[in-house]
């Protein structure tokens, strides 16, 4: 089978959605030289934790031994699944994320199965022999222009309710009449959050993959900051009035911790939502944020499901606790926009 035919038959994963497939001209097998974001052709060796990969069309696809996949070399940090590094062993590698991340698993939650094993077949090169990387297809930084206000969403951990909070706030702002951008600036490329933002009516949706990274784990802080600005500026260029921006994982995760500690973050955001699992987490997280001079406008997340936990969290943090229904309510969401300066532009 020719390279073109193999690539035609392969399952291109979600993180490759911006790749111009026609630029693939050659291949090599120098996997030792693989860098984060490099495009890899691999075959499914043994199905494990991930039984499906995510396609650019936004649907999952079951995978079977022998299937060809096009995927990006990358690291991963997911406490409820795997930690992995952007390293590819020619004798076999791990499917670290169904969105399309191949690497070497170094730690695994006891709650999940072993990673699906992949046999790397080739690195994809262009006609000049350059390795094709997601960064080659990234959005270009926009010339300096007015950037829409950004509402940050952070949380205590995975599954604390950040994505739901982001999506519901997008919905509330949209209902209030704003054009909303939804971006995710850290994490590992996947369509779950991306689709949820889009389903909530965001006018522009993007994540770090659109800025050239399959994952932000172990990426330099400056690169993540530049990517964030690119995505926020792109949202503005696409006509968004306001941007809701989710940071993955918890406040103590390496990249998220570095971002919130950087004055750049405080300067970037015009509002902050903090998603927590419970009241104790809310108290601890609020204290961490306060050390960096960050005071959330609202606490939300799993803690808000219980009126009693909400009352405890409000008492402990001094902040308003909002449910997902509150965030989706235009009367509540408008407050975020008005505090961010999106009030009336002129007297009639």
């Amino acid at each position: 089978m020719t390279l073109a035919a193999t690539l035609d038959d392969a399952k291109w994963t979600f993180v490759t959605r911006r790749v111009e497939r026609s630029r693939v001209a050659r291949t090599d097998t120098d996997f030792a030289a693989a860098r984060p974001g490099d495009l890899i052709l691999a075959h499914v060796d043994k199905v494990g934790q991930h039984r499906r990969v995510q396609l650019p069309t936004g649907r999952p696809s079951f995978i079977f031994a022998g299937d060809a996949v096009v995927i990006a070399c990358g690291a991963r940090y997911a406490p409820d699944q795997f930690e992995g590094l952007a390293e590819i062993d020619p004798d076999g590698a791990d499917l670290l994320a169904g969105g399309g991340c191949i690497g070497r698993m170094v730690a695994r939650s006891s709650q999940v199965e072993a990673a699906t094993r992949l046999m790397p077949a080739a690195r994809l090169l262009d006609t000049f022999g350059n390795v094709l990387n997601l960064a080659d297809f990234a959005l270009a930084p926009r010339p300096a222009g007015p950037r829409p206000p950004v509402i940050g969403v952070v949380g205590t951990s995975m599954n604390s309710g950040k994505t739901l909070a982001t999506a519901q706030l997008v919905l509330g702002l949209r209902r209030a009449g704003f054009r909303v951008g939804a971006i995710k600036i850290t994490g590992t490329g996947a369509f779950g959050d991306y689709n949820e933002y889009a389903d909530s009516g965001a006018h522009f949706v993007a994540d770090f993959t659109d800025a050239g990274m399959v994952t932000t784990y172990r990426e330099p802080l400056d690169r993540i900051k530049a990517a964030t600005e690119t995505l926020a500026d792109e949202a503005g260029a696409r006509g968004c009035d306001i941007v809701v921006m989710e940071l993955a994982d918890g406040l103590l995760q390496r990249e998220t911790a570095a971002i919130i500690a950087d004055q750049w973050f405080a300067n970037l955001i015009s509002g902050l939502v903090f998603a927590c699992g419970d009241a104790v987490a809310a108290a601890g997280g609020a204290a961490i944020l306060a050390r960096h001079g960050l005071i959330p406008d609202a606490v939300t997340g799993m803690v808000s499901c219980s009126p009693m936990s909400s009352a405890e969290a409000a008492e402990a943090t001094g902040r308003t606790v909002l449910t997902k229904a509150d965030l989706a309510d235009p009367a509540e969401a408008t407050g975020f926009a008005l505090r961010a300066g999106l009030g009336r532009k002129e007297a009639a």
Binding site: R175, A176, T334, L338, G343, R344, A348
Partner: protein
């Protein structure tokens, strides 16, 4: 869309989580680039009559007029956001639909409301000042004062329950933007009857006044005092409708209220009688 009255008028229907809302759209032959005027009826739900009486002004001024109708059956409560109903959400959706349909409908709108419609109008503008260009409030029964002198829903002080706390907060979010709006508060010189439709209780009577006329004055003073506290110019004006009671048809036919509302954008704010 289905024409609810089987006439030749143009209607638009918007769907939202709060429910469906239909409005008649009156488009002039020669439109001018000015915000549409949204005309909200009171508890008599006389949208058809309001549309009929405002239509000549649309043609005269070139401004589009939108007249929503909250039917009794689907909107037993429509005067303000409450646990029972969210007319504000329905109105937001309607404005979005108007913006999608009309060339000049994408910006802010002027809001006109009579009685219960004025109740909804001023509360909508407090919540969503970014959607409003100007307010025309005619004889609301009572008001949400823009200060902490009364608990919500009479003012912005938080109550003891989660509901009133949340709504006091939501109304306070945009207070400064709201206070920047030009507001005309109209009331009939004879609108002093404490009829059964008028909400009365000791605190309300004491703080806002015994009748609609007195409460309109109180509200205008409260708006301008709040504006001053925010270092904003006083933009609220009290307009007494001579020899008029609570009848909006009388106000429109004898006091030329529609004429005044449609021309208000070129008039300087001042207290006066018409």
């Amino acid at each position: 869309m289905k024409n609810p009255n089987n006439d030749t008028a143009e209607y638009i229907t918007a769907c939202s989580a709060a429910g469906r809302l239909t409005a008649r759209i009156i488009r002039p032959a020669n439109p001018v680039p000015a915000p549409p005027v949204v005309v909200l009826h009171g508890i008599s739900r006389n949208a058809g009559i309001l549309a009929q009486l405002f239509a000549p002004e649309a043609e005269r001024t070139g401004r589009t007029i939108v007249v929503p109708h909250f039917p009794e059956k689907s909107w037993p409560d429509f005067q303000r956001p409450s646990k029972a109903a969210r007319p504000d959400q329905a109105l937001l959706a309607l404005l979005d639909a108007v913006a999608a349909k009309l060339p000049d409908g994408a910006g802010t709108v002027d809001l006109f409301g009579h009685s219960g419609g004025a109740q909804l109008t001023h509360r909508f503008a407090m919540l969503y000042p970014h959607r409003v260009a100007a307010l025309h409030l005619v004889a609301a029964g009572w008001y949400c004062l823009p200060d902490d002198t009364m608990t919500y829903p009479y003012g912005l002080a938080s109550g003891t329950d989660r509901f009133s706390t949340a709504w006091a907060r939501r109304n306070a979010h945009g207070l400064r933007d709201f206070l920047g709006l030009p507001v005309c508060v109209y009331v009939g010189s004879k609108d002093v009857i404490r009829d059964p439709a008028l909400r009365t209780n000791r605190t309300l009577d004491a703080r806002q006044g015994p009748n609609r006329h007195a409460r309109a004055r109180t509200y205008v003073m409260a708006l301008n005092a709040a504006a001053e506290r925010h270092d904003l110019p006083a933009r609220a004006q009290f307009v007494e409708l001579t020899d008029c009671d609570h009848d909006v048809v009388h106000a429109l036919t004898h006091n030329h209220l529609a004429f005044r509302v449609l021309d208000a954008r070129s008039q300087a704010p001042r207290s006066q009688a018409v």
